[in-house]
């Protein structure tokens, strides 16, 4: 497995003076403005923010699917200008190839690299073993549960030994229990492989539990509102989520996000009118109530 995942350079992501606008009929839609983020080699960094603030946009630009309107994205000093196997990606919609078996899915990146069949079969088996999926290597993705699909998705993205792993709400579609298990699996893999991770999520607990650092974004047009280091020691246990340290971090992030979510929804709520929503404010501000 070390030959597959051999990886000397470690993936230093840098996003500088970044902004991105989508061209639409009504004119450009500014999705992200004036954003600076970085991920140090081997670091686990999350991005949280209200819905529609441009998290996916930012991540897709790092992946190379979108070109920044201004600014620059580099990985280890090299400018990103297109998708590449150096930056593995895991999508919320699983995005496994339905016509390939689990093992063929995992082999895909190695096949694209021209690795001979027997060699990549062996590599894929090893990786699937690590994720506890060897029994399912011949199954088609359709037959798997959501958690298994996403495990295959992660293993597939890691098979080519990328410098960085990008994940866009990978566990968003999973139930709470499966989510927790997937978080553990991801942490294990990350610690074993020592690659850099950029992780987008809605879930504040998830972000704190997994990350070394969390970026919190503002409502659209998104930019970085705050950067929160997570000094919790590793390895992290589920029980730490009850610690006062964790809860303090959680409260802090929660209030940052709530402010932004209200800004994002503010227009809609005013339009509907407060009576329509049946909310009695009793002298509190809207932020306290929601």
């Amino acid at each position: 497995m070390s030959e597959v995942l051999a990886n000397t350079s470690k993936g230093h992501i840098e996003v500088r003076n970044f902004s991105l606008a989508y061209e639409t009929i009504e004119g450009p839609v500014q999705a992200v403005t004036d954003t600076q983020i970085h991920v140090r080699p081997g670091e686990f960094v999350s991005i949280v923010g209200p819905s529609g603030c441009g998290k996916s946009t930012l991540l897709n630009a790092v992946a190379g699917f979108l070109k920044p309107t201004t600014g620059i994205v580099t990985v280890d000093g090299e400018r990103v200008n297109g998708p590449s196997a150096e930056r593995g990606m895991v999508f919320q919609q699983y995005s496994l190839f339905p016509w390939k078996t689990v093992r063929e899915n995992v082999e895909f990146g190695l096949k694209m690299r021209g690795m001979p069949r027997s060699q990549r079969e062996r590599a894929a088996r090893t990786l699937l073993g690590l994720a506890g999926l060897e029994a399912f290597e011949k199954h088609y993705p359709e037959k798997l549960s959501g958690g298994m699909k996403q495990r295959v998705g992660i293993v597939r993205a890691l098979a080519t030994g990328p410098k960085v792993l990008l994940l866009d709400e990978p566990f968003g579609a999973l139930d709470a229990q499966t989510r927790v298990i997937m978080q553990q699996i991801l942490t294990n893999m990350w610690q074993r492989l020592k690659i850099s991770v950029l992780f987008v999520t809605h879930d504040i607990d998830e972000a704190i539990f997994l990350s070394d650092r969390v970026y919190c974004m503002t409502a659209r047009p998104g930019s970085i509102k705050a950067e929160i280091p997570i000094p919790l020691e590793r390895p992290r246990q589920q029980s730490m989520m009850m610690s006062s340290e964790f809860l303090a971090l959680r409260r802090g992030l929660m209030s940052l996000i709530r402010e932004e979510s209200l800004k994002a929804m503010g227009g809609e709520i005013n339009d509907m009118g407060m009576q329509g929503l049946n909310i009695e404010l009793h002298g509190h501000s809207l932020a306290d109530v929601i």
Binding site: G88, M89, L96, P98, W99, F108, M112, R156, T160
Partner: protein, 302 residues
């Protein structure tokens, strides 16, 4: 196991190991005796109850159809529709048993099959790649699509006079008609399949290092296969429609010609025989395509 204690005191240690090994075993392993034939049969019956029911009803309804046909023809019913000259099932069966020993009848069938094979294969060999390329490259789509849209509504049968002018032999013009009939359904469905390919899968392939050619082969093509096979199934149906019409109009051989000739020669039983042969051939060819589809797309069979 090779500890001296075990060797020296077998009567003492044996029961302990036996319990340790045998203890959990009965709970895990299933009963050693295989289930009896009766149980298996019952289980099979329960699992396939729905399908058995459907088969039984299907057979009964076919028999009822034959019976009604038989009654209508033996009593020569005239009630808006005239059954006076319609052959009875038994008459058709008699003409069938005669026909299967008649090399001429077999030749009609073989010729029709050959025309279908050539015309349909050409349509698939041209239509599928063309659809894939049109779906991938905008410019090709922009050039070819308008022409295809103008020609597509013209039924293949309307091409008969033109085909006779275009092609030196009758045989070629009939194959051409068959080709035209199946070409457009195949092309349109392939295009449709290409337009539905999930862009996330393309992205997934890209960030696993796939380049244009691999994406085409590994993503666009397999993702479109279900629609390609829909196109092939529809195309096969239209190919038969077009073939039979063309054979009736301009043929000298073929099962369509046989059916039409039977009418001219007042051999009424052969009309029904020809019709049934056409139905069976059409059913057979669509089953072949479905089988091929299951072979090519194992991930879709449950």
């Amino acid at each position: 196991m090779s500890s001296p204690a075990l060797v020296r005191h077998p009567e003492y240690s044996m029961p302990v190991t036996a319990i340790a090994e045998a203890g959990p075993a009965p709970a895990v392993t299933p009963p050693a005796t295989p289930p009896s034939f009766g149980t298996l049969a019952l289980r099979w019956y329960r699992l396939n109850q729905g399908r058995l029911r459907a088969t039984a009803i299907g057979i009964a309804s076919l028999l009822a159809f034959l019976l009604v046909w038989h009654l209508l023809t033996t009593y020569r019913v005239v009630f808006f529709v005239r059954f006076t000259n319609v052959p009875s099932p038994l008459a058709v069966y008699a003409s069938f048993s005669k026909a299967i020993h008649d090399p001429k009848f077999l030749m009609h069938i073989l010729l029709s099959c050959r025309r279908i094979f050539i015309g349909f294969s050409l349509a698939a060999i041209i239509g599928v790649p063309l659809g894939l390329i049109m779906g991938r490259f905008k410019l090709v789509h922009e050039i070819i699509f308008p022409v295809a849209e103008v020609l597509r509504p013209i039924p293949a049968i309307a091409w008969v006079p033109m085909a006779i002018m275009l092609w030196p032999t009758n045989e070629q013009s009939i194959v051409f008609i068959t080709f035209l009939g199946s070409f457009f359904p195949i092309l349109v469905n392939t295009l449709h399949g290409m337009s539905l390919v999930d862009p996330v899968l393309v992205r997934a392939a890209q960030c696993l290092g796939a380049r244009e050619r691999s994406i085409f082969r590994e993503v666009y093509f397999p993702a479109s296969l279900p629609h390609i096979f829909t196109g092939l199934t529809v195309g096969m149906g239209v190919a038969w429609v077009s073939l039979i019409a063309a054979e009736m109009i301009s043929g000298q051989y073929g099962i369509g010609y046989f059916t039409w000739e039977a009418y001219s020669l007042v051999q009424y039983a052969d009309i029904a025989l020809g019709m049934i042969a056409i139905g069976v051939l059409g059913l057979g060819s669509s089953l072949l395509i479905r089988g091929a589809g299951q072979l090519v797309m194992p991930w879709r069979s449950t």
